[in-house]
Symmetry: C2
Subunit: 301 residues, 2 copies
C-alpha cells in the first residue's frame, strides 16, 4: 500500500570524529523515503531549488518511489544544513542553516497522491503539516514528527495538528518539553491525551518507547551498533522503516506496530554506519531482515 511522505531535501555538510562529508544529500524526506522503500511503494513530496546538485530520480532508481511530488523551483535555492558531532557522538552542534526554499510555500500534493492511506508528515511548521494533511482524502494512519521550536513558539498550531494525526514520533527531550513532564512514560501518556492514539519517543542510542492510548507499551533498545560514523538521518530512517513496514503489512494492530518499531530501529542502525545515505543504500532487504532477527535474539529473554 503506497505511503506518502512530505519533508525536506537538503544539501548537508557533516563533520564527525570519524570523518566529514561536504555537500552531500540529506533531509528528512530523503532519509525517510530511502528507508521506507525497502518495504513499500513511497510517494515523495519535497522541493529543491535550481542549485540542487543531486540526481534524485537516479538515487531512487530501482526502488518503488513515485517522484511526481518532487518540485524543482527555478528561482529558489535548496535547503542547506551543516553540523558537527561531538567526540561522544551523542550530541551535535549546527554550524550553519539556510532554510531557502523551505521558507517558501510548500509544494502541493499531486492529485494522484490524494488517495494515500499511510502518511508521514516530517518535521516542519505544524500549520504546513495541517495544510498538507487537508489535501489527503481518507488517510488511514497519519504520523508526524515535530521539534522544540514548534512546541515553544507555535503550540496552538501543534495542538491542532495533534488532534488530526494517529501517531506522533518525537525525540525524548521534545516529548518532555511538550508534556511538561520529566518521566518519559508519563510524558508519552500525557501526549496521548492531546489527540494521537499512539506516541513513539525516539531516545537515540537508548532506543525507543511506544505507548498506545489503550495502555499498551513497548520499549526497545537501539541495535547494539559498533559502527557509528554519522548519526544524521537516524530518526527519519527510523520513521521510514516504521511506516514502511506498516504500509507493507497494511495493519496497525499492536503486534504489527511492535515489529514496525523493530524494523525502524534496524534500518536506523544501517543509516548511522556511514555518511549521508551510504549506510542505507549499501544495505539490502535481506541484510535488514537478518539484523532484525539478531535484534530479536539480543533483546528477548
Amino acid at each position: 500500500m503506497p505511503l506518502l511522505v512530505t519533508g525536506s531535501i537538503g544539501i548537508d555538510t557533516i563533520r564527525t570524529p570519524h570523518g566529514s562529508s561536504e555537500n552531500c544529500i540529506g533531509g528528512s524526506a530523503i532519509y525517510f523515503t530511502m528507508a521506507a522503500s525497502f518495504f513499500a511503494p513511497v510517494r515523495f513530496i519535497g522541493v529543491v531549488g535550481a542549485d540542487c546538485p543531486f540526481d534524485i530520480p537516479g538515487m531512487f532508481a530501482g526502488r518503488n518511489v513515485d517522484l511526481r511530488g518532487l518540485e524543482v523551483r527555478a528561482q529558489s535555492k535548496t535547503f542547506r544544513w551543516a553540523g558537527t558531532y561531538k567526540e561522544t557522538m551523542d550530541d551535535r552542534v549546527t554550524d550553519a542553516i539556510e532554510l531557502n526554499v523551505l521558507a517558501e510555500q510548500p509544494p502541493a500534493v499531486p492529485s494522484a497522491f490524494a488517495d494515500s492511506r499511510f502518511v508521514f508528515l516530517a518535521n516542519t511548521a505544524p500549520r504546513l503539516q495541517i495544510q498538507l494533511l487537508r489535501q489527503i482524502q481518507a488517510p488511514v494512519f497519519v504520523a508526524a514528527d515535530t521539534m522544540d521550536f514548534w512546541i515553544t513558539d507555535h503550540l496552538d498550531d501543534l495542538t491542532e495538528l495533534l488532534t488530526q494525526i494517529d501517531c506522533l514520533i518525537i525525540n525524548a527531550d521534545e516529548a518532555k518539553l511538550l508534556a511538561r513532564q520529566f518521566n518519559l512514560v508519563r510524558a508519552a501518556e500525557q501526549i496521548l491525551t492531546m489527540g494521537p492514539s499512539l506516541v513513539i519517543v525516539k531516545k537515540g542510542e537508548s532506543g525507543a518507547l511506544m505507548c498506545q492510548v489503550d495502555g499498551s507499551r513497548f520499549v526497545l533498545p537501539a541495535y547494539p551498533a559498533t559502527e557509528v560514523r554519522d548519526p544524521t538521518g537516524a530518526g527519519d530512517s527510523f520513521a521510514g522503516g516504521f511506516m514502511g513496514y506498516l504500509a507493507q503489512a497494511r495493519r496497525t494492530d499492536f503486534q504489527t506496530l511492535k515489529t514496525a518499531v523493530a524494523y525502524g530501529t534496524v534500518v536506523a542502525s544501517f543509516t548511522i554506519a556511514d555518511f549521508s545515505l551510504s549506510g542505507l543504500t549499501n544495505a539490502t532487504r535481506d541484510d535488514i531482515d537478518i539484523r532484525l532477527e539478531m535484534l530479536r535474539r539480543f533483546t528477548c529473554f
Copy 2:
C-alpha cells in the same frame, strides 16, 4: 546456593523532587542483599559503627540472610551519605559524605563463608576487593562493581582485580572511562580483553547492556516505570536481582544470564518506586515475577 556479598552499610539522607528521607538505611550491601534475598540465601559482610541506629537483623527477619559477617565496631562511626536528585531525576549531587568505618580495615570473611560459590564485591577500593576475594576458597562466579575514582586513581589495582573476576558490573560513563572508548558496545568489548568473561553496563533509565567474551550480547531497556521517587540503590538492587537469580538457578549459561539481567531490571524498578528500602520491602516474589512477564511483553516483538 548461597551468595556472598561484601559492601557498604550507610546512613543516607536523600532529597528528590518527590520528597526526602533523613538518616535512612542505605549502602550497597544493604540494597544488594534485600534484592538478592528474593531469590537465594545471602551471606552478608559489612561493618557499621556504634552509632548505627538500624536494627539490621530485624530488617532481614524472615529472609534467608546470614549476618555472621556483620561487624559492629565499637570505636567507629557508620558511613554516611547525603545526596540531592535534580528535577529530571537522572542526575544527583552528593551533598555530604563521611566514609568513617569504610576508611578503616574491612571486615574479615567469616570462615563459614569461605566456601561461597557466588560472590559479589560491591564498589570499594580494588585492593580491598582483591583481599576479600582471596579469602574465598573456590568461587564459581565472581562479579564486582567499581567507580570512576578507582579507574582514574587506582588503575593498577583495578587491572589486577579484573583478571580475577568473571563479571564486571559497571555504569555506562565508567565503562567508557575504563575502556577509553565512547561507543558503549566497543567499550564493553574492550573491558572483556582485560580479564572478565562478562561485562554488564548499567545505563540507568536506558537499561543495561551485557557482552560476553564469546561475542554474545544482550540489551534490555529499563522497566518503563511511572513511579520513580528515589533512584538510590537502583544499581545495587540490579546487581542483587541479577546475582540472586544466578545463585538460585545455579547456572551461568547465556540464556540464564539474560533472565538474570531481566530480574535485576525488575527488582531495580521496585527499588526506585519509593525512598530507601521501602520500594523493595513492599514487593513480594510474586510481584517480581508478574513484572518480569510484563517486561517480557513490553520488550519482545
